[in-house]
């Protein structure tokens, strides 16, 4: 499977990554190679094999429903670029 420049631009946009125009061709080639490898694995007969959701063959541990966290707003907001009245501020978004 081969990706073209527009695929790369779309993927980069979805991930909010800025990529230089001249590197698009290289990304297209590298990512296509990865997909080719996946296609190669697709050829293996996996009848009867349960799809894996995680490399560890274990199940999720559950946590008791208890409030264990205290308020650390001051600490967390110390690294935020802008806050006011306890809110994190971001450039205006409208929906």
């Amino acid at each position: 499977m081969s990706l073209d420049a527009s695929d790369i631009e779309k993927i980069a946009h979805l991930a909010r990554l800025e990529i230089a125009l001249e590197s698009i061709a290289r990304y297209a080639a590298d990512l296509s190679n990865i997909l080719d490898l996946v296609a190669q694995m697709d050829a293996v007969d996996t009848t009867g094999v349960e799809p894996m959701a995680h490399p560890l063959h274990m199940s999720q541990r559950l946590r008791p429903d208890r409030v264990s966290e205290r308020n650390q707003r001051e600490l967390f907001q110390a690294i935020a670029p802008l806050t006011e009245d306890g809110l994190y501020l971001v450039p205006k978004v409208i929906d």
Binding site: L14, R16, A53, H54, L56, M58, S59, Q60, R61, L62, R63, P64, D65, R66, V67, S68, E69, N71, Q72, R73, F76, Q77, L82, E84, D85, G86, L87, Y88, L89, V90, P91, K92, V93, I94, D95
Partner: protein
């Protein structure tokens, strides 16, 4: 052309836990912004989400309550998109393997007809934070972000496109609302956002099997808005198609002030969430013991209770559905029935006077000033003829305003029905004697005058005469001489 509406709902209900789905931060409503958002909720590097057992237990309860299969193995996935109130850049949700599979619920329509609605699936996910689009934050041009809600456990309940009218959609939403409260998995508080509805709406020519293109109306937070938003959207779609246009698949918002839906303004390309299994979370495995434990204290469910009220007490489907709208109401009704053995009378009073009074005062049944025992006391006095049905309403009003139980109200207000026939005979004889003209007319064949005499007796007795007894005596007195 005749059109058919097709509606499916996605309902997000907040689960009644203490802490978040993947962290130990509190989910209590109304806290100061960002005081309940810990490192995990903020998506700081190096943190690890750990699943809340109670959220899983509550999801299992829901699954069993709609007759669905609870998946022995379910998987959390990342739903990727960028928005400031989603700090990680993805929402942890479930995609291919949800915790709850296919189930069904029944809705009762206004005419008493019962319709079965399919539930496709229900899955666990975390809520996002809140964006506050206030003017003047830091002088303007900013949106404020409160992440207290980020990580709150949600169960998203997805229906089949089984509804055909806005009213059916509302009945289904009410049904799910009733059920989640009934089985204690959510407080269902719509004002606080604990129960939010997205509606998928399309239209097609009647008889066509293929679905039309649908639009999704987001974040409806009242039953009235669900009905009005869908109604508007259906009319809009029909207008577009009949005007030669085509429906664009898009997300729309309902504006209650203008009573219309309009497309969300964001120019974002078609959603491409690139779901993949979350490597931070292992598959959730649920064994039989866990399920047995989760449903051990599940109460009798509303549908089965409604059916029982119908068969055991001989109530109509619609009455039975009103009485099972909430668990406290149903318990109240059954307490009255147990004390009086008068299910129909009890149903009339609970769905009639009591429901009206609760509505007027805007209070829940749990806070009713008239307890089940008090209503049963009143019904006893109707049964034994102490008060007439008409005066019983007065007694009810008095009980409602705190004048004591039925017996003390009847005593204090002198509402006891006159059953002493001697007293009644004398009263009637006097009235007949005082109205010779009307007696003349009656005897001349003008039957309507009988009503005049009944009215006079009721007036004289202040409504306390037994109507049946009055009729008997009047007939006899007017016929004699």
């Amino acid at each position: 052309m005749q059109w058919e509406t097709v509606i499916g709902l996605e309902i997000h209900t907040q689960l009644a836990t203490q802490s978040k789905i993947f962290s130990g931060a509190s989910i209590a409503f109304g806290a100061s912004p960002n005081t309940q958002a810990c490192a995990i909720d903020l998506g700081l590097p190096g943190v690890l989400p750990v699943l809340n057992a109670e959220a899983v237990r509550l999801a299992v309860r829901f699954g069993k309550a709609i007759g669905a299969e609870v998946a022995p193995r379910s998987v959390f996935a990342r739903k990727n998109y960028f928005y400031p109130d989603l700090p990680k850049g993805y929402q942890i949700s479930q995609y291919e393997l949800p915790i709850v599979g296919e189930g069904r619920v029944e809705i009762v329509l206004g005419d008493g007809a019962v319709k079965s609605i399919g539930v496709t699936r229900a899955h666990l996910e975390e809520d996002a934070g809140k964006s506050l689009h206030e003017e003047n934050l830091a002088g303007g041009g900013y949106t404020g972000i409160d992440l207290n809600r980020a990580g709150t456990p949600l169960l998203e309940i997805v229906s089949e496109p089984d509804m055909r009218t806005p009213q059916e959609a509302v009945a289904y939403a009410r049904k799910i609302h009733q059920l989640v409260r009934w089985i204690g998995i959510s407080d269902g508080n719509m004002q606080e956002g604990s129960f939010r509805v997205d509606a998928n709406v399309s239209v097609r020519p009647l008889g066509q099997t293929r679905f039309g293109t649908r639009t999704e109306i987001k974040n409806l937070n009242s039953f009235r808005f669900i009905e009005r938003a869908i109604q508007f959207e259906v009319e809009r779609q029909i207008d577009v198609i009949e005007g030669g246009g085509t429906i664009v698949q898009e997300t729309r918002l309902y504006d209650p002030e203008r009573d219309e839906t309009r497309p969300m303004r964001s120019k974002e390309e078609a959603n491409d969430y690139r779901y993949f299994p979350d490597p931070d979370l292992l598959p959730v495995e649920i064994d039989v013991a866990f399920i047995v434990d989760a449903v051990a204290d599940l109460p009798e469910l509303p549908d089965s209770m409604r059916e029982r009220f119908h068969t055991q007490y001989g109530l109509g489907e619609y009455d039975a559905s009103l009485l099972t709208a909430g668990r406290e109401l149903a318990q109240y009704f059954e307490a009255v029935v147990q004390a009086t053995a008068e299910p129909k009378l009890a149903a009339n009073w609970v769905n009639g006077e009591l429901a009206a009074a609760l509505n007027r005062s805007e209070i829940e049944i749990a806070r009713s000033p008239v307890s089940a025992a008090m209503l049963a006391g009143l019904i006893h006095r109707i049964q034994d003829g102490t008060v007439s049905g008409k005066l019983a309403k007065q007694v009810f009003e008095a009980m409602w305003s705190g004048e004591g139980d039925a017996d003390s109200v009847i005593q204090a207000r002198g509402l006891r029905q006159i059953t002493d026939s001697g007293e009644l005979e004398a009263m009637i004889a006097a009235i007949v004697a005082a109205n010779p003209g009307q007696v003349e007319q009656y005897r001349a064949g003008k039957d309507k005058v009988f009503g005049f005499f009944v009215g006079q007796v009721m007036k004289e007795s202040k409504g306390k005469a037994n109507p049946q007894q009055v009729n008997e005596i009047l007939m006899r007195v007017l016929a004699s001489d």
